[in-house]
Symmetry: C2
Subunit: 265 residues, 2 copies
């Protein structure tokens, strides 16, 4: 499956033109069906579509635990067919939705998700060795970003080790792929997620609902992202680098120099 | 209206902690109603909400021309009330939608928009003086990005001059604000739009539907973004700088050195 396409562009300057070969990222419409009904069509990087479909269905509120998933099939014609145990029919799931901000890959979120109690978070600590493994593992996942400048990456660390990283045309879809991997590959949610994208409300909300205690971004959170993290008791980190974390909420989960210093707030 | 909030973070390194004051960007839920019916709730930077609401309704397919707009009121409680002449009721507008990729602010797009004929584009040329005015005007709109690292900006040039620029937590919302300004302030669509965000399918599609002939990005387009631009006959530019344009489609609209050189393809 080709994830990039070559395109000849005209480099135009006031002094004249020249020709350039650019790699452009493949963006395609992918349909997700649940128990033989179409739930939605999303624009994605066509890679890791099983994970994407499960994360997408989690985002929309249809499934919430690995045990819900019965089977995931990637079919021709860019369709992913998911069979799952769901408590409500697709019609019953229709409810007032919030269209996600600025960059809302999966587009809409049930309003109740913003006001519900978040699940309790399992005990989890992250040291700088883990931070480094997570960031380097995620950024090293593929050369797609260097080639196309059109990719967001999202990685996951749990059980003391870097687990996996995924890429997509959108930062939300990349998070959906990590959440889908938790559902598909049974990674323990009690870990740390790192994204190259900004932490707006919908990004943080998904992690809160999945019970991921530590969320890191290469860049900034928004106000509502910080508020949700605070309310859910999460550790939210901006401008994350292998040796430097800007901790917005929950610094007690970060282990300093092998020791978790007391009294840090 | 405060667009940022101050937050004390803990800067954690393996060597120890220190304290830092960060400005975080305000992200809020805003409701958009059309003729007294709720169309959706979006997460936005609460600024230029009239423009946002009209661009949002355009994106969803409810309105398409400045003449459709009767009145726009920003009400307390983060609600924008739009009165407009629409041809179909909200129920009739329900149709199969595509959930937008990676970063889809307004979240969903009617499938028919991807297959329809795009409106013919008005004659429009852009010289490097215009490129410079557009890019500098957009990036100079406010210090929010430098303060929060959480903002996308989108600006518009038409009628030989820089018209306006808008910011938002999401690149789609910022584009929606420009499109809303075309509807609200009657800017001529025959111009050039510059975004700090990537040009994925939904970003380019909105501009094609609005009849904007030239679209520039600070960064990259996706494959589907390029395909839509090609099909609509648009000029699509990546990695735009005041003196350097990487033209993916339609280089004939760019004026070189005051002269539009013939034969450039």
């Amino acid at each position: 499956m080709d994830l990039t396409r070559s395109w000849t562009t005209t480099l135009v300057t006031p002094q004249g033109d020249s020709s350039l070969e650019e790699a452009i990222l493949q963006e395609e419409a992918v349909e997700v069906t649940l128990n033989e009904e179409l739930v939605g069509t999303s624009m994605v990087l066509p890679e890791n579509l099983e994970e994407f479909a499960l994360g997408f269905l989690f985002g929309q509120g249809y499934i919430s635990r690995p045990e819900d998933v019965v089977e995931v099939l990637v079919c021709p014609q860019r369709r992913v067919t998911v069979y799952a145990r769901i408590e409500s029919s697709l019609e019953e799931m229709a409810e007032e939705t919030v269209i996600t901000s600025g960059c809302g890959g999966t587009g809409k979120i049930a309003r109740r998700f913003f006001s519900e109690d978040y699940p309790p978070l399992a005990e989890c600590r992250l040291d700088f060795q883990g931070v480094s493994a997570l960031i380097k593992g995620t950024l090293g996942v593929s050369p797609l970003q260097q080639m196309t400048h059109c990719v967001h990456a999202c990685g996951f660390w749990s059980g003391g080790a870097f687990q996996a990283a995924y890429e997509d045309v959108g930062r939300h879809n990349a998070v959906d792929k990590v959440i889908g991997a938790i559902l598909l590959r049974h990674f323990q949610p009690a870990g740390a997620m790192y994204t190259t994208g900004r932490l707006t409300s919908d990004m943080v909300l998904k992690c809160a609902r999945m019970g991921i205690p530590i969320v890191l971004s290469r860049t900034a959170p928004s106000s509502l992202g910080v508020d949700i993290a605070k309310q859910a008791g999460m550790t939210l980190i901006g401008y994350a680098r292998p040796g430097r974390l800007n901790v917005f909420t929950g610094p007690e989960r970060i282990v300093r120099d092998g020791l978790n210093l007391a009294g840090v707030e």
